[in-house]
């Protein structure tokens, strides 16, 4: 909870920075604030009880703290990479504020215990993201990305709210625990519109995590937004949306899982097939990463489907989101460097192995991790997900996942082949700032460390 308060205060402080001429101090201040939030988060983790606030609307229990930790860590790395983004353009303070408030929304999504805080979390996270997606004002593509994101986001919010209203109509409460009790007491005579409500929320959340067939906005939005904002979307926003998904379906609606599990399995199967086949056909690396994030959404939803209320399920999701966030931050940081020339296709990576061996190596590690090749974090992430699925009746999905990740390896390796085996088109020198090198190196070290010692996270997460 202290993390949430620190971030909110930081956001307000950043708004004042414009007036008090503190622009130069803003980045260190923000980094310090996020570090403080992370530390207070870790201190709350040490406590044995969970923190409940606002009439149990927000509860920082262990899963909430763990996911907040992942989000704060990626946000810290992101801010170091993104200081460039804040230098260009005129409204740097506004951009800081928007990102900070988006983080507040993300933390709320990790910790909600009530439909009200779920809705507010979704909106506090999304509305700044709409603005950030459209933040390249002169670029029509960025405008289009922001607009599409806004329309699709508010469309999904409409569905979410309709679902919440129907569930409220049946149960008479917004409280997640209350709804769970209501399901328990009326398991045999739930009204039809209650099921409809759960269906609507499923559709809305699939929109938010960009799972097929509700994914169509994601590639366009990811491609049109500034690269660094895309990095934020595919790490922080994704982690928060999955934390919310898990909280809602494993804590709220777990008891009628036989109703939504079938639909969820179809969503997962479609995500895996459509995303991997489309990603293989892309010529732009950014668009390929967008499709890859859809296919990772499929994997992460499998954890929710496995529906094991023990720690294993939450643990697998936590590990996956950490591995995916760390890998993506590295990949997007490299893509940002390479894409500075204005070209973000596979050809832009040609001969990077010679032009800048360090970047090429880090990109290769990130790609291998996203593809799930051993000794990287991605391998164990997939392995843990598959373990949770073993005991369920959805073995066909497991087979499909293995086949589609083989297709996935093809397009990730395409980047590596372009970097090491294709001749360089231009001989231009690449200038990489020290801070970028630092973040890229940290992401590689974390990816390899998580891959070599997977127990690092699994052991921490005992409750």
């Amino acid at each position: 909870m202290k993390g949430l308060l620190i971030l909110s205060a930081l956001g307000m402080l950043a708004m004042l920075a414009q007036i008090f001429q503190l622009k130069k101090l803003l980045l260190p201040m923000v980094l310090l604030g996020i570090a403080a939030a992370f530390v207070s988060n870790a201190m709350e983790w040490q406590q044995t009880f969970s923190f409940e606030y606002f009439d149990n609307m927000i509860s920082f229990d262990k899963p909430a703290l763990a996911f907040s930790g992942v989000i704060l860590l990626t946000a810290f790395l992101w801010f170091i990479v993104a200081h460039d983004y804040f230098k260009t353009g005129t409204h740097m303070v506004d951009h800081y504020v928007l990102v900070l408030f988006a983080l507040v929304g993300a933390l709320m999504l990790c910790s909600f215990k009530n439909m009200t805080t779920l809705f507010l979390g979704v909106e506090i996270l999304s509305i700044p993201m709409y603005v950030l997606a459209a933040s390249k004002k002169q670029d029509v593509r960025s405008n289009e990305a922001g607009f599409k994101y806004l329309i699709m986001g508010s469309f999904a919010s409409g569905f979410l709210l309709f679902g919440i209203a129907l569930i409220y109509g049946a149960s008479g409460t917004f409280d997640l625990a209350g709804i769970s009790t209501y399901i328990h007491n009326n398991i045999n005579d739930l009204p039809l519109f209650f099921y409809l409500g759960i269906l609507f929320i499923l559709v809305a959340m699939s929109f938010k995590v960009s799972a097929a067939p509700f994914h169509f906005w994601a590639p366009d939005v990811y491609e049109g937004s500034p690269t660094l904002i895309t990095a934020l979307m595919s790490t922080v926003v994704k982690t928060a949306a999955f934390a919310a998904f898990m909280r809602l379906y494993l804590m709220g609606f777990a008891e009628i899982s036989q109703f939504w599990a079938v639909l969820l399995s179809i969503i997962i199967a479609l995500s895996l097939i459509i995303a991997n086949l489309s990603a293989a056909m892309q010529s732009s690396v950014k668009r390929m990463l967008a499709y890859s994030s859809i296919s990772h959404a499929g994997f992460m939803l499998m954890v929710v489907l496995a529906n094991q209320r023990s720690n294993i399920s939450i643990d697998a999701l936590l590990y996956y989101s950490l591995a995916y966030s760390v890998g993506s931050i590295g990949a997007f940081a490299v893509l940002y460097q390479v894409g500075k020339s204005g070209n973000e296709t596979f050809e832009a990576f040609n001969g990077l192995g010679k032009r800048h061996p360090f970047l090429a190596f880090c990109m290769a590690v990130a790609m291998l991790s996203l593809a799930g090749i051993p000794i990287t974090a991605g391998f164990f992430a997939k392995y843990f997900v598959f373990t949770t699925m073993i005991g369920t009746s959805y073995k066909w999905l497991l087979i499909l996942a293995v086949i589609t990740s083989a297709i996935g390896a093809y397009y990730y390796l395409k980047v590596i082949i372009a970097m090491y085996f294709s001749p360089a088109s231009g001989k231009e020198e690449m200038q990489v700032e020290g801070s970028h090198k630092l973040v890229i190196a940290i992401s590689v070290i974390l990816t390899l460390a998580l891959g070599l010692v997977p127990g690092l996270v699994a052991e921490v997460f005992k409750f």
Binding site: E123, Y130, N143, S157, G158, L166, T173, F174, F193
Partner: protein, 103 residues
């Protein structure tokens, strides 16, 4: 029963409003009308929440409506700002022109 009108009628009305909103978002090309249709969807939800809130004799549903109104207003504020930016670049707000991002 609320004021002699069964709750089903309220539900039916808000479902009809919601469907009009959904169809409008998907079918219309004028972006301003798309925004209006999204508002319609949200207002259908508001109606439903207020009706259920009265039915259950529980005020939290009505409090939720205030949150929805506030959020809808801020969403439209952002939306119209983005729209005016698009108009400055394209001199049009037809959503068919927004197709720069394709494979």
């Amino acid at each position: 029963m609320i004021n002699g009108i069964p709750i089903n009628m309220y539900m039916m009305l808000s479902v009809v409003l919601f469907i009009i909103g959904v169809v409008g978002v998907m079918a219309r090309r004028n972006t301003i009308i798309v925004f209006m249709c999204i508002e319609l969807m949200l207002n259908a939800v508001n109606l439903l929440l207020v009706a259920f809130s009265t039915l259950h004799g529980d005020t939290s549903g009505q409090v939720f409506v205030f949150f929805i109104m506030a959020v809808a207003a801020s969403e439209v504020a952002v939306g119209l700002a983005i729209l005016s930016m698009i108009y400055r670049n394209l001199k049009s707000i037809d959503s068919d022109l927004l197709s720069k991002l394709k494979n």
